[in-house]
Amino acid sequence: MKNLIELQHASKHFGGLKAVDDVNLSVEEGALHCLIGPNGAGKTTIFKLIMGIYPPTTGKVIFDGRDITKMPTYRRVREGISIKMQIPGVYLDLTLYDNIRIAVQKYVDYKQIPAEIDRLIELVGIREIGNPLVRNMPHGQQQWLEIAMSLASKPKLLLLDEPAAGLGPEETEFTANIVRRINEQGTTIIFIDHDMDFVAQIARRTTVLHYGKIFAEGTFEEVHNNQDVVNIYLGKV
């Protein structure tokens, strides 16, 4: 399998703070890859480097064999990268349909828009929610809506920043099923989460970040059984 996304010696410094420090990360096409690490480890910053929200201080971002380091965010999306953000990036004062419509309309013909909205609702499994104002939807439903919206551009690479955060056990299970389903349909996924049960359920490969650097990498079992990883979570390293 070829690498779909690569960070090559990527760093992001905020003044003296090295949020991401000389990271080399490769994710293969079709992967379901998890980034874990304590708060402030640089996980979300890596997502922002991939999306082009921050330019890297040094290093390169390679997507599908192309150097996209200087490409603006909107073009990266059109090239096939999409994101679900940590705090749901949905339009709170609009309805569920209008939210998906905004995400969809750039990627299908005008007449196909209703069918495409329907397809995404079906794919994520949120039909029974109906069409409420998004502000009135519970947090979990907003997370699922945003996943549906982030799939509208038919991305090759989907970044999910804490898709299970703030969810109960049933909702977490529902989310895990969505993520697996999307991945099985061919979308490469990198996700961040702190819920280790969730990570254990779905991640096929896991990277541990610590102080902006890659600390460990391997299958979830390998990482989970690594005493150093346990220690950094307990604050011993």
Binding site: M51, I53, P72, T73, Y74, V77, R78, S82, I83, M85, G89, V90, Y91, L92, D93, L94, D98, R101, I102, A103, Q105, K106, Y107, Y110, M149, A152, S153
Partner: protein
């Protein structure tokens, strides 16, 4: 089809039809002077709609509409002074509109590609308007001319040829009809756009600009272009005003003039063009009556309205009224009919 028609029955749409009927009937039931006066109101409606497009639809709060209005007016006047053939005036109208577009495009490019947004757009556009007014006000000397057109300082440019189509001067009733057609055209374009892709694109930028970029929207480009189109519409309003009165002065670009569209749009309801049209008519009629009393009451009224709206009806007075009437009268009527229809079946 039936459902679509039923969905279209809202307080807003009913009011829009009533306002249209009022405008069509107005020249018949009013004197020539009143019709000419109403033409001036319609020209201000165009200016207010230009702000509703960027502020209400796209979330760009701008003080520069008066500046683009002035640029349109001055361009038209300068061209009229240099080329005296009245038959060319339709081209000068286009010139004023294009100039409003280009200046707004230029300003918008530096703002939106430079990452200037929200309150800073208000500051930049306010400064732009103030600089333009100050510059125009000091052009009294004979050295300030463009070709044959003296800029005239505080006195501005006078005796400007009215818009003429062929040999027919667009004055009085003809100007009223032209302004009305333009208001209808701009209004309908905005209402139709709301439901099209562009409308949703603007809506997404208004609601969450950063997120919209992550759905693949080139937000800076869209903001720049819509700002330029709004500049063109404001320029059109300025051209029509200059043709209507035969003059253009720096105070047309002043702070009072710059604040007026902001108040009209905020107080009517910035997300609702029908509310903007209705409130603009209401305000102009009232302020003219107050101004006739010879003091500055109309300006006090402007400030007072803004204050009350910000405090009590942030959605706008007319827009809020639409919502209340929809909820209390129109919806129950519709539901009542639907139930009665259902029972009959």
């Amino acid at each position: 089809m039936k459902t679509k028609f039923k969905d279209a029955i809202t307080t807003e749409n009913i009011c829009a039809v009533l306002v249209l009927v009022f405008f069509i009937a107005y020249p018949i039931i009013s004197s020539a002077y009143q019709t000419l006066n109403m033409a001036n109101f319609l020209i201000t409606v165009i200016l207010a709609l230009s702000l509703a497009l960027i502020w209400g639809y796209t979330g760009i709060f701008s003080y520069a509409q008066a500046a683009f209005y002035g640029i349109g007016g001055y361009t038209y006047a300068i061209l009229c002074k240099n080329f005296t053939d009245p038959a060319l005036t339709p081209l000068f109208l286009i010139g004023g509109v294009v100039m409003g577009f280009l200046v707004a495009l230029f300003l918008g490019y530096f703002m939106f590609y430079g990452g200037v947004n929200d309150v800073f757009v208000a500051l930049v556009t306010m400064c732009f308007t103030l600089v333009l007014e100050t510059f125009l006000a000091q052009t009294a000397g004979s050295e300030w001319h463009i070709g044959a057109a003296q800029l005239g300082g505080f006195n501005g440019i006078n005796a400007v040829t009215p818009l003429t189509i062929g040999t027919f001067p667009v004055k009085n009733l003809a100007l009223y009809i032209l302004a009305l057609l333009l208001v209808i055209g701009i209004y309908l374009a905005m209402r139709i756009m709301e439901k099209r892709n562009l409308g949703y694109c603007l809506l997404s930028i208004r609601e969450n600009r950063t997120r919209s970029e992550m759905f693949g929207y080139n937000t800076a480009f869209v903001q720049m272009m819509i700002f330029a189109v709004s500049g063109a519409i404001a320029g059109l309003s300025g051209v029509l005003y200059t043709s209507w009165g035969g003059y253009i002065v720096p105070s047309a670009v002043g702070m009072t003039q710059a604040t007026m569209p902001v108040v009209l749009v905020a107080a009517g309801g910035r997300k609702n063009p029908t509310a903007v049209v209705i409130f603009t008519l209401f305000y102009l009629s009232l302020s003219q009556k107050l101004a006739a009393s010879g003091s500055q009451y109309s300006l006090v009224l402007l400030g007072l309205i803004l204050l009350l709206v910000v405090l009590f009806v942030p959605k706008g007075i007319i827009h809020s009224l639409f919502e209340i009437i929809d909820r209390k009268v129109v919806l129950p009527l519709k539901n009542g009919k639907a139930q009665a229809g259902g029972a009959a079946e």
